[in-house]
């Protein structure tokens, strides 16, 4: 029922492209403040690379790489990174997401601390967006029954 290697052209190209798309997604995340980009766009590209793999192979291969449980954990981790950074600022005596307070625990000045704080928040956004995209795609593509869809 699940036919593997049904189309070697798409499969080879997906295998060739996926690492580069993922590296590009992380590039968009980390250099977002020099060029358009950031957490959301990087997360979309990261999720899209996974969707490309699922399209080229099948849903079983996708679930072998990221299981549903791990996906839920990733969702929660992203939100926790985001809100944890904000809460850390709150605990350190500033307002919510007031990154300059992070300088108290980091060995840098307030300006660099602000940049690092934004980076941490963007990492959280990226993880959440990628995980949510993947789970929405899996739910839609399989209509609730993962073995049936996109074979």
């Amino acid at each position: 029922m699940i036919r593997r290697h049904e189309d070697i052209i798409i499969e080879s190209l997906a295998r060739f492209l996926t690492p580069f798309i993922q590296a590009f997604a992380l590039y968009v995340l980390f250099l977002g403040h020099y060029s358009p980009g950031g957490g959301f766009q990087g997360g979309v590209l990261m999720g899209a690379s996974f969707i490309l793999l699922v399209i080229a192979y099948d849903i079983i291969e996708g679930k072998r790489r990221i299981t549903e449980k791990f996906n839920i954990v990733l969702n929660a981790t992203g939100v926790m990174v985001f809100s944890g950074t904000g809460l850390l600022c709150l605990i350190l005596g500033g307002e919510f997401l007031d990154y300059s307070q992070l300088a108290a625990i980091l060995p840098v000045g307030p300006e660099e601390a602000r940049g690092l704080g934004i980076l941490a928040v963007e990492i959280g956004v990226e993880i959440t967006v990628a995980a949510i995209m993947v789970s929405i795609f899996l739910d839609l593509a399989s209509a609730g029954e993962h073995e049936e869809a996109l074979k």
Partner: protein, 101 residues
């Protein structure tokens, strides 16, 4: 040189509008997918031309790469989605049953 870039961009934009006719009028879904893919290719080029006009190519090239990637994945996904639905054209027979060509 800017005039040349703007002219090229306008021509490509008009071609995009012509492709839009196929998106609206295409008899089957696959025609629409092709036309959307063609529009995406032109948009990749138009984004780079816009970067040349504004003098910020290093910024627009990232948008262009992302656009090309997402366009490609969207085309593949649409093609795969309509492949598992066996009949697109009403009344057509499934080709594999009677053998191709």
């Amino acid at each position: 040189m800017d005039t040349f870039f703007i002219t090229t961009g306008v021509i490509l934009g008009l071609l995009t509008l012509v492709c839009l006719y196929r998106v609206v009028a295409g008899p089957t879904v696959l025609d629409r997918i092709i036309a959307v893919g063609a529009i995406g290719n032109k948009t990749t080029a138009i984004l780079l031309l816009m970067g040349m006009i504004f003098g910020r190519v290093e910024m627009f090239v990232d948008i262009s790469i992302s656009y090309a990637l997402l366009n490609f994945i969207a085309t593949l996904g649409a093609a795969k989605y309509f492949r598992v639905r066996k009949s697109i054209v009403p009344g057509s027979k499934y080709l594999k049953e009677k053998g191709i060509s």
